[in-house]
């Protein structure tokens, strides 16, 4: 009997190709952003179908949620809407050739894979019993999650530092009318609780702070958009400190773990759970502050480009 999900999977795969093409082909920036968000949604669904709900969760929170909000914010601060124009043909040629090379390399890897992947499958299967996770995709990702988080935080911190140095057009949200308050009253506390829940779900393994941070940042962004909280009013320095703590703390933990257990990003035996919960909680708050700060732009009052 055929798998009843085959129709769904084919539709999803086809849909992803179409959306990817539409996102690339749209000349208008706003349309491109919406298509990009739709691509994030479909990518998340595809992780679901690959039996990796953890990755689907991350893709939903980061790819479809917070990135879209950041892109919309960026679009609003551009002085002129980007002009519609076709790219110069030499650039288009180079991009085309590069893409073809990458596609060729991926195809070659796929074609040459069978023998190699057999061995890999077995290695993962053996490890699966030890790690206590039942899904191979999740297990592989979990083992590298702390490295992943470290790099993500480094990238975010660098982005924030560059933005603070260059300055940016301050955020000036439109007034949203009296119904935004009840909206915020439901969404803001819910986002805090859901962020805590995601943190708790991810706390059995290191590195799940990012999804929680994205949801927490979303709650903060609603507060800022409703003009209920203005981080520029007085505590710019405090926010910069909170943003910095994430990267600094994580690096310290990595080095400390290296000294104690002679393996980077490994926590001492027995204390793992406590360590993970504390570190992840700190990371969540710090990354959320960084994401929200990226959304707001300049952190000092009256700072302009």
């Amino acid at each position: 009997m055929t798998d009843p999900w085959i129709a769904f999977d084919l539709t999803l795969a086809g849909g992803m190709l179409v959306v990817a093409w539409l996102a690339l082909a749209s000349r208008a920036a706003f349309q491109m952003i919406v298509m990009f968000m739709m691509f994030g949604i479909l990518a998340s669904l595809s992780w679901v179908r690959l039996n990796a709900p953890d990755v689907a969760l991350a893709e939903a929170a980061v790819g479809a949620g917070i990135t879209g909000a950041l892109l919309l914010r960026t679009l609003s601060s551009l002085r002129h809407a980007p002009k519609e124009r076709a790219p110069h043909w030499p650039i288009a040629m180079v991009a085309g050739v590069l893409s073809l090379i990458i596609v060729g390399a991926l195809g070659a890897a796929l074609l040459m894979a069978p023998e190699a992947s057999l061995g890999y499958d077995r290695a993962v299967a053996i490890r699966l019993d030890q790690s206590g996770v039942t899904n191979p995709v999740t297990a592989v990702l979990l083992n590298f999650r702390s490295y992943d988080t470290l790099l993500e935080i480094a990238v975010l911190s660098a982005a924030l530092a560059i933005m603070l140095m260059l300055g940016s057009k301050p955020l000036s949200p439109r007034p949203l009318g009296p119904l935004f308050l009840p909206f915020a009253k439901v969404i803001v506390p819910s986002s805090v609780i859901i962020a805590g829940y995601l943190l708790w779900l991810g706390a059995s393994q290191p590195g799940g702070a990012f999804q929680a941070a994205a949801v927490l940042a979303a709650g903060g962004i609603v507060l800022i958009l409703g003009q209920h909280y203005d981080p520029r009013a007085r505590d710019g320095a405090l926010i910069r400190l909170v943003c910095g703590i994430g990267l600094a703390g994580f690096v310290l933990v990595a080095i400390g773990g290296q000294i104690l257990t002679s393996e980077m990003l490994r926590y001492p035996e027995g204390l793992e759970k406590t360590w993970i919960v504390m570190i992840e909680a700190t990371l969540t708050v710090s990354v959320a502050a960084t994401l929200a700060a990226l959304f707001v732009g300049a952190l000092r009052k009256g700072t302009t480009a």
Partner: protein
Amino acid sequence: MSVQDIMGVGIMVLGTVFFLAGTVGILRFPDAFSRLHAVTKADNLGLALIALGTSILAADGFTAAKLFLIWILIAVSGAIGGHLIARHALRDKS
């Protein structure tokens, strides 16, 4: 197949009909405001029915509570979000 299963799946099928109505609505209706009617009303009920059917099939109180929370979040962002988009579109026009 138990009575419970048939009921759950039946309610979910009914839910998808409303999703179809929402999509037909946003394609057929003449302006953004009318399309918002389709999005806020039809999809809201569609999701409510799907969530209801899912909780009947799952037959677990806490799962049902989580599904109810999901529906509340979507309903709030649907109803108020529909208003906010309409408000935005109204300022676009003037």
